[in-house]
Symmetry: C2
């Protein structure tokens, strides 16, 4: 297994030249986070993740987390010590508010830190990721007392957080949950119920775990409107801030999963556990969406991060492994990187990774603009763009996570299928990312059902118009950009056609629109990816680094000519409507309607 | 985990109406294998596989095969007994020559048996599959003494076979192998070397294991021209046919793999082991291709078979799992099969599975024609078609195996990621199929480098012309076939364009042709799949079964309108040449050419 190399140079280029980080750093509150400071910080972070965290990855997979009799969870050997180093270094606090001890850096920087940590060890990274979701919920909706009590230690990482949404009968349909919260005289609530799929629901890396739990109060409305959100600490907190007695939340079991073995996925049982309401009653779904929206981009980044590490490994293997002789090569054997089909697998990974990274950083930069730009109109537009890009980043990013890690494994042939090489672990680990924080199908429904209709469709059409401005720029930039401009033009035409179809159809036949939502989202992923690579190619051409300009041009052209045309190939599926999808009944789907030959 | 339901009705329809089995059964030698007999046989076989073999699948995964101190391999509990039942029932011998105790049924029937067995338990099925490869090598190249000595017990299944090709430095490049074979005075050879990735290289299910081993004799030419093929039995055989002393082949270790845990993947060490030459010296590669070509279609079927079982499980889950309320539905919750995006995932699986099954059975029927048709011209043309279709079936079939099992897992959401449900096992098991028996990249190179040039391209162009005859038929068959005809026309145009480009380019710039080989192969997979489904829809319309006609029409139309257009979307990638693939050097691929900001 090859060493992980943090792609800081790629990231620095993206920040400086592709997503306009220097302008972002000029926003009020980010003055201390100028580009040079940030890149230096990220270099150090990359070093920490590569040298301290990355070596725990394979061990985490083979050992896994274990549930001891009595209900305590033990993480794989070394995790506790590494987590302590992570807390001491303060990596988790960088993008969080200075008011509670954070670094006050942009979310964009936080996202890069998350990429580096996830490449190093995805299962490990889930603990800080979930903590961050809980922090954001508290920041937005907690009252001062809750914030003062919980945020400093959560932001430092001394305490970790969880998100308790799912129940056996309430997965994607959160509104079906049945956990109860009964008010007590002292203002707290008694929480009773069972939650499943709770990531780091218990562990030994921190003294305290802060559960955010969705539950229903007595007489609350049915469905999603009657859900409230509570803080339920693993240990009650004394008035002096020290940890008191154990709250009545217990780990019942751990799941045996396909991947992320080191991350304990808990079934938690709450029995009259003491909880504290966040905000008001029945605000639970709104709070959940704060946690979710932050987490969704983070999950998209997981696809990027794990695929990046898998790619590096496959590239190293392709350079080392000698097998056969490539056409035109001399000597008795060639490194397999000289074979065109291996090149295709490498370049496909490299181009998708670059496109994804640029797109996700762009999304994150709009998150920062939506919170920090002084102009309310800019903030509002930025929030719209975040709403549009986030389901794309989550869904396309994690689909590619699956596809690219599989390509990386394929390059390693039979060795890739052997667990010791680590290629299989990447495939197994990332498989969950297309499922959790809202399945990718739910992301597609979110895009079509919620995001498209904003301002009667004007929001999304404006975004397409912005993307299309690049066609002119490319046409004027020189003949080497000609094929990129032409292909972008063709593909944006198809994307516009699909978008108009969706806007028309969604209004009258939402089921027909939803029927095409997944291919439609992929069209968006391919088009925005190609757009970002073309932007990067133009930006690189404007530097005086010829190798960089060449590199970005090749990536943009390869993507535009060879990967992007799949987008128009999805137009038929995106706009076919629901007729054939519902054309077979369950018997016909099972194949039993075929004639059985009678003997 | 839901029970496996053998899709006999689908298969019977395919045999009778889609691939012309009734005519095949009229060929000399197959008279006893008429359609009714065959379907009855397959019903029984399906019952055996579903009731006896399928229940061992999950246990095989969790227990795995183990290597005992001393070098003996133990298969998971129950495997030995189930294998004995398999031998007693004679399922392995059905398609093999009657002369040695086989059933003399067409290969087409054997392929169905293999599908059913692989759906039941892929890891188990590998033992008979490898045995069959060894049998075919012996049938084609063994002398009478070897055949008489080995074939009857291998065909009955009492003895199993292996294929020993790979060495640590000789994977895809078989010519690099170094295992030595030194002739002895008695006519046998002393075999010395190490082989890796030997499936069922040792196990406890049979008394004898017959290794087919590739090795070099002294003074043999370098590379593939100097390879010979030997039989090396685990136990030497006494003159009376009884088993004698242990041969000097030892299992050194077992691989720890991502999937097919029950299948022991052995490192075998040969030290002066006694071997017997098959055919003549230096015929090894030719013999290997006999084994491989038979096995390659079989590996394609693995993709189909595992995806079929995964599909059945996801369909059952989608009918049972209630979550949220579908648009227009009444009640408090809907089964998730009512959601359009879940329907898309189901129908995508169902349509690909039907297309793959038809295509593979068609390929198998040409195998039978190539061996049994009395007309030498028909035999020759059939062999050409087998050569064309086999890399497509292997590569597209196993790529779809990966993609469809992943869709099946996705439908099951978080539960799919939990190992107990079995969805993850299908994903893990099938991942190897795109790698072994020639990676899918090698299949694509075979298509472009060998198969396309046959008769100066006439062979493949004739096949396209045959496919295009269906356009007229569809246009005349009624308006409901109109969109299928139109889309097939568009896509065949693109396929022809790519094929002509490949024929032109391959002659002058083979590297450029190879650069597009993988997308080109996928275009073939999609086009032949759509063609088979359209044939099936026409055939079903000619029956008087309205539900069947409706079902096949929907599948054909969904595939043509919604899946097939991806094919033309690959035209750019297929015909882009090698320029951009080789446009980045290793440094640029690693991303280090980007400017590092100096602080």
């Amino acid at each position: 297994m090859s060493q992980y190399q943090p792609p800081i140079a790629d990231i620095a280029f993206a920040l400086e030249h592709v997503v306009g980080y220097p302008d972002l750093a000029k926003l009020p509150g980010f003055e201390h986070a100028d580009l040079e400071t940030v890149v230096e910080l990220l270099e150090q972070c990359g070093e920490f993740m590569a040298e301290v965290v990355a070596p725990t990855n394979r061990r985490g997979d083979t050992e896994g987390s274990r549930l001891l009799p009595g209900g305590a969870v033990v993480t794989p050997s070394g995790f506790k010590e590494v987590y302590q180093q992570y807390v001491d270094a303060g990596w988790g606090s960088v993008p969080l508010p200075e008011e509670y001890g954070g670094g006050g850096f942009p979310r964009t920087v936080g996202l890069v830190i998350q990429e580096l940590m996830t490449s190093a060890n995805m299962a490990f990274s889930l603990c800080p990721l979930l903590t961050q979701g809980a922090i954001e919920a508290l920041l937005h909706y907690g009252d001062d007392a809750l914030k003062q009590r919980y945020l400093p230690k959560m932001i430092s990482g001394e305490w970790t957080g969880t998100m308790n949404l799912t129940e056996p009968a309430a997965g994607s349909d959160v509104g079906a949950l049945t956990t109860r919260a009964v008010p007590r005289a002292d203002g707290s609530y008694a929480i009773t119920g069972q939650k499943i799929f709770i990531t780091y629901g218990d562990h030994d890396m921190a003294d305290q775990i802060v559960h955010l739990v969705l539950a229903r109060t007595p007489g609350a409305p049915e469905g999603t409107r009657g859900i409230s959100c509570f803080i339920v600490p693993k240990f009650l907190i004394n008035d002096d801030g020290s940890l008191g007695e154990r709250n009545t939340v217990q780990t019942v079991s751990l799941e045996h999963k396909m991947g992320i073995h080191a991350s304990p996925t808990c079934v938690l049982s709450y029995e009259d556990a003491t909880g504290y309401l966040i905000g008001e009653e029945n605000l639970g779904m709104r709070i959940m969406f704060v946690m979710m929206n932050s987490a969704r981009l983070g999950v998209g980044v997981q696809g990027l991060a794990v695929a990046e590490r898998a790619y590096q490994q496959s590239l190293a293997y392709a350079q080392e492994r000698r097998q056969g002789r490539a056409i035109g090569a001399s000597g008795t054997s060639s490194a397999i990187i000289e074979f065109p089909d291996v090149r295709r697998m490498l370049l496909t990974q490299r181009a998708h990774l670059a496109a994804m990274r640029y797109l996700m950083l762009l999304d994150a930069s709009y998150v920062d603009k939506s919170t920090h730009d002084p102009d309310p109109a800019v903030r509002a537009r930025a929030a719209e763009i975040v709403g549009l890009l986030t389901p794309i980043c989550k869904s396309f990013g994690t689909d590619l996570g699956n596809e690219l890690t599989s390509l990386a494994l394929q390059i390693q042939g039979g060795m890739g299928f052997i667990e010791e090489t680590g290629a299989a672990q990447h495939v197994r680990d990332i498989r969950i990312a297309a499922i959790y924080e809202g399945t990718n199908g739910i992301q597609a429904a979110d895009l079509v059902g919620r995001k498209l209709g904003i301002r009667g469709g004007a929001s999304v059409l404006e975004f397409i118009a912005t993307m299309r401005e690049l066609e002119t720029e490319l046409s004027q930039a020189g003949p080497e950009f000609g094929s990129i401009a032409a292909e972008l033009g063709r593909q944006f035409d198809a994307l516009e056609e699909a978008t108009h179809w969706m806007l028309r159809t969604g209004a009258t036949d939402p089921n027909a629109a939803l029927s095409g939502s997944t291919p439609f989202l992929r069209m968006w992923g391919l088009c925005t990816g190609a757009w970002m690579l073309a932007r990067a190619a133009l930006a690189a051409a404007a530097t005086n680094d010829a190798a960089l300009a060449q590199s970005q041009l090749v990536l943009a052209r390869f993507y535009a000519e060879q990967l992007l045309p799949a987008s128009a190939g999805l137009l038929g599926a995106a706009t076919a409507g629901s007729h054939d999808l519902f054309g077979l009944d369950a018997h016909q789907l099972a194949g039993v309607a075929s004639p059985r030959i009678r003997i």
